[in-house]
């Protein structure tokens, strides 16, 4: 199991590299400084539903239509990620995660390492119960793009850039450690 988890993470990173989407791994202790090195100010975000990690106070975590309009970066949590495709699954929340992930030029999705699933069938396994429960989600892969104007342009209606942050959380750290023992 541990070996596979490590592989999913590697494959996720490889898929993102193919998409030319930068990815940075971090842990709860260094999350703030990592995020700071990635974003462009001003930054809006929606609360991260992860233990031991929350948005730094320089992130406006109560965005309004006005602050959304002027923000350069949006930070939101991803429910999980799909290794094969380099995709992040973004939930729609009453706090406006959908908007924050969509309107700013740079979107920074934060996904826990333990939430990287290997492939589309495993993703759908998770999505089934979520959607039947009334939730909505976006499988987002790379920045928004269009070829309608005669050449590929990034940033059509949505973000021009995406920078993924992978959070090595307790579960993943634990698994990694077990993994090392196993080997």
């Amino acid at each position: 199991m541990s070996v596979e988890t490590a592989t999913d993470g590697d494959r996720f990173e490889a898929a993102l590299e193919n998409l030319e989407v930068p990815v940075t791994a971090t842990d709860p202790a260094t999350f703030d400084s990592t995020l700071e090195s990635i974003v462009d100010q001003p930054v809006v975000g929606t609360p991260l539903p992860f233990e031991r990690v929350s948005l730094p106070d320089w992130v406006d975590d109560e965005p309004t239509p006005a602050t959304l309009e002027t923000a350069a970066t949006g930070v939101t949590a991803a429910s999980f990620a799909i290794a094969d495709y380099g995709s992040v699954v973004l939930p729609s929340t009453p706090e406006g995660a959908e908007q924050v992930s969509l309107f700013c030029d740079l979107h920074v999705p934060v996904v826990r390492a333990s939430d990287i699933v290997p492939d589309m069938p495993s993703a759908i396994e998770r999505l089934g119960p979520m959607l039947r429960d009334g939730a909505s989600a976006i499988i987002a892969t790379g920045p928004s793009a269009t070829a309608d104007m005669g050449a590929l342009v990034k940033g059509a209606h949505g973000p021009k850039d995406v920078h993924v942050v992978v959070l090595e959380d307790d579960e993943a750290l634990e698994r990694d450690e077990t993994g090392e023992h196993d080997e």
């Binding site: 109560e62 239509p65 406006g96 959908e98 089934g128 959607l131 309608d148 005669g150 209606h157 949505g158």
Partner: protein
């Protein structure tokens, strides 16, 4: 079709070839190559397609029940469902929703179903401002043009044209030039329009009955904004979009982008369960945090019948409802690559499957406009993620059109020449002529060389052009007085059954028997060199010619006669070897629809393409040295239907094993496609398609090679295009080959 109609059609096609052709060609060929590359990464591609097909078959089977289920789920979620009988009914409902909301502006994301309804016009008549937010659709809205492709609606427009359009319409301070500038300009303008919209309208690629969710496949992000920014969301979708559960979406998510534009997955696959939890973005209340809002969203799902439930009851058209509108069948189609959807399309839909959609939702007149452009090359069949037999749908619609047309006063004279099995005298003369090619060939051969002399006379050619539309720029085939069957009768086999490793019946297809007798003789010599006992009984034409003209009854009768003539040979354990790939494709594919199941299977399992057979002999120990191994380097073009059957690899393998230096074309089709390239209204299109092949065979690396093609039409087309001799692979391998070393 009258001469004038043919001329008008030819003019229209010529115009598109000159104007939109280059942009359409570059884009569709890019998508098509992207598809090949992207599906190659899927280990379980075939299984995914099977799974997708099974899900769609099941969903359409259970459709009435699923409509009820989705209605219940969406209403439980807090939305409203309206089942609209037709476009007028849907538009009436949508106008009501707009008026109840005092809507001044409705923003839309791309939806072909909404194009089918012409909902924009319906709303604009009521004073609602409708804004398309997909960049391609917006370009067309500004230009006042129709989509030319179901996924990338503005592919027929180049960047330069879009720049000219924007600069003249909007007069931006600095003239716009690059794709980046054009995109950012559009993004900004449309962003403002979305912010101030009262209603957002989307389509849906799929709807799940268990959760009431919409799946939207997009890249730009406009559909996401359209669905969440305004407080009212209307989704319009054909009833066929419903699948039972969220889990059923899995294969489609993996297949749809790859099949269409060649992307492994598009930027956004939205899975919305409306009314969604996201807050609205209210420009009139910019300071209230999203988290503090209490929004009451409104959601309307408008399900469209508009002929679909009738299609579901129609055994031939039902498959159309499995279509997920990925566009693979358009991108892979050689004719579509040249002219795009403004020729290859009806009122709303474009590409190969459009025939089924148009016949089903708008009626046969709309399908008749472009149905002929499907030549039955079958390249789309393997590309379709739900495995629809798109050429068959085109054939069926053509057959129905043949029966609904009008009779002409010449037809009783013509009946003598074209003794087909078609019940009514309503069918187009040109179609009947080509559909009865076997009779003509028989006659031509019996009266050769006089028939060839007459056929070559100017006045005869111009009559042929006027009366049936045979383009006089095309050289006609030269009929041989001695048919292959006669030649073989007189000559007899050189390998006796008693000495042979195996016994075959070489199928004397119409073209080999009456026109290209030489390739038949070469096939005999090649097979005999491999210790095969050959017989050539007289067997009727396969029915390919009438089928391609939509004359299904005639093809059906031929299939029965072919089977009757071959059954005893199959019983005796003989293999049936076929030279012409389009005839083999009849035996292996279309006969499934024309013969009883057991007969079809027996013939299919006993029949082989000639090079496939040679390959089998060599694999089983036949001596390759018995064939010609010192021939010249080869430029090889496989036949479209042969490729769909997966048989081109045998020709390649045989040439490789014998040490030939082979350069192979990678175009989808030569453009001739049987009779298509002879028709005056399509001659130029046929040549345009052929040019892609000609280019590949005219490079410095290819131009001195021996041109080899597996199909009759491909050979003729290559000879016309290159003014070089084209041979069949068996002629290159013939130990007595007269071809230059």
């Amino acid at each position: 079709m009258s001469k004038t109609d043919r001329e008008t059609k030819a003019d229209h096609i010529r115009h598109l070839l000159e104007t939109e052709g280059p942009a359409v060609e570059a884009n569709t060929m890019g998508f098509n190559q992207g598809r090949y590359d992207s599906v190659a990464d899927l280990e379980d591609y075939e299984e995914l397609k099977d799974e997708a097909r099974t899900i769609k078959e099941g969903a359409i089977e259970r459709l009435p029940e699923l409509i009820d289920a989705v209605t219940e789920t969406v209403e439980e979620n807090g939305g409203t469902v309206y089942l609209a009988e037709d476009a007028a009914d849907a538009n009436r409902y949508i106008r009501e929703v707009a008026s109840e909301n005092d809507a001044e502006r409705l923003v839309k994301s791309k939806s072909m179903t909404s194009e089918e309804l012409e909902v924009n016009e319906a709303l604009e008549r009521e004073g609602v401002d409708v804004v398309e937010t997909d960049l391609g659709e917006w370009v067309l809205q500004v230009a006042d043009e129709a989509p030319s492709h179901i996924v990338a609606p503005a592919i027929h427009k180049s960047r330069e044209e879009i720049a000219r359009l924007f600069n003249s319409q909007f007069d931006p301070g600095e003239p716009l030039e690059t794709a980046e500038e054009l995109t950012m300009f559009a993004r900004e303008r449309l962003g403002e329009q979305i912010a101030e919209a009262d209603i957002g309208m989307t389509g849906a690629n799929f709807i799940t009955a268990d959760s009431g969710s919409l799946m939207l496949v997009t890249s730009e992000g406009n559909a996401r904004k359209t669905a969440v920014v305004p407080d009212t969301h209307i989704a319009v979708a054909g009833v066929e979009k419903i699948v039972p559960t969220v889990e059923d979406l899995a294969p489609f998510i993996e297949l749809i982008g790859r099949s269409g534009t060649g992307q492994d997955i598009t930027s956004y696959v939205s899975l919305l369960t409306p009314p969604v939890d996201s807050p609205i973005v209210d420009p009139d209340d910019p300071e209230t945090p999203f988290a503090d809002r209490e929004d009451d969203r409104e959601f309307h799902l408008v399900l469209i019948d508009n002929g679909r439930m009738t299609m579901r009851e129609d055994d031939q058209l039902r498959e159309t409802l499995y279509c997920i509108r990925c566009s693979a069948c358009a991108n892979t189609c050689a004719n579509f690559q040249s002219v795009g959807g403004h020729a290859f399309g009806g009122e709303t839909y474009t590409g190969g499957i459009a025939t089924g959609w148009e016949a089903g939702v708008h009626g046969y007149d709309s399908a008749a406009e472009f149905n002929d452009l499907c030549t039955g090359c079958s390249r789309c069949v393997e590309a379709c993620p739900v495995k629809i037999d798109i050429p068959w749908i085109n054939t069926v619609v053509r057959d129905r059109l043949n029966r609904g047309g009008e009779a002409s006063r010449f037809d009783f004279l013509y009946d003598e020449l074209v003794p087909d099995e078609e019940a009514t005298g309503a069918i187009d003369r040109q179609k009947r002529l080509f559909g009865n090619y076997e009779t003509l060939a028989k006659l031509g051969s019996a009266t050769a060389p006089v028939s060839n002399l007459i056929g070559g006379l100017g006045p005869v050619r111009s009559l042929a052009e006027r009366f049936v539309g045979i383009d006089s720029r095309r050289p006609l085939p030269t009929f041989q007085r001695e048919t292959l069957v006669d030649w073989f009768d007189a000559r007899g086999p050189n390998v006796a059954a008693a000495d042979a490793d195996r016994e075959v019946v070489l199928y004397p297809d119409t073209y080999t028997n009456y026109v290209d007798v030489d390739r038949g003789k070469a096939a005999v010599r090649v097979l005999e060199a491999l210790s095969v006992h050959v017989q050539i009984p007289s067997v009727p034409g396969s029915g390919r010619a009438p089928l391609s003209q939509g004359m299904i009854d005639t093809a059906d009768a031929k299939a029965s006669r072919v089977y009757a003539a071959l059954a005893e040979h199959i019983d005796a354990g003989r293999d049936i070897v076929v030279i012409e790939p389009s005839d083999l494709a009849m035996f292996r594919n279309e006969y499934e629809k024309l013969l009883p199941e057991r007969s079809f299977e027996r013939l299919r399992n006993s029949s082989y393409e000639v090079l496939e057979y040679v390959y089998g002999c060599l694999e089983n120990g036949a001596d390759p040295a018995a064939l010609r191994t010192d021939g010249p380097p080869i430029a090889y073009h496989a036949h479209c239907q042969q490729r769909t059957l997966g048989l081109d690899r045998y020709t390649r393998a045989v040439f490789d094993d014998l040490g030939y230096d082979v350069l192979e074309s990678d175009v989808e089709c030569c453009g001739m496609a049987g009779s298509f390239g002879y028709k005056s209204q399509y001659y130029e299109l046929s040549m345009d398609v052929g040019d892609r092949l000609a280019e590949q065979f005219s490079t410095s690396e290819a131009r001195d090679r021996l041109v080899v093609a597996s199909g009759t039409s491909c050979g003729d087309q290559l000879e016309d295009l290159l003014a070089r001799e084209a041979s069949h692979p068996v002629e290159a391998l013939d130990p007595n080959s007269p071809l230059a070393r």
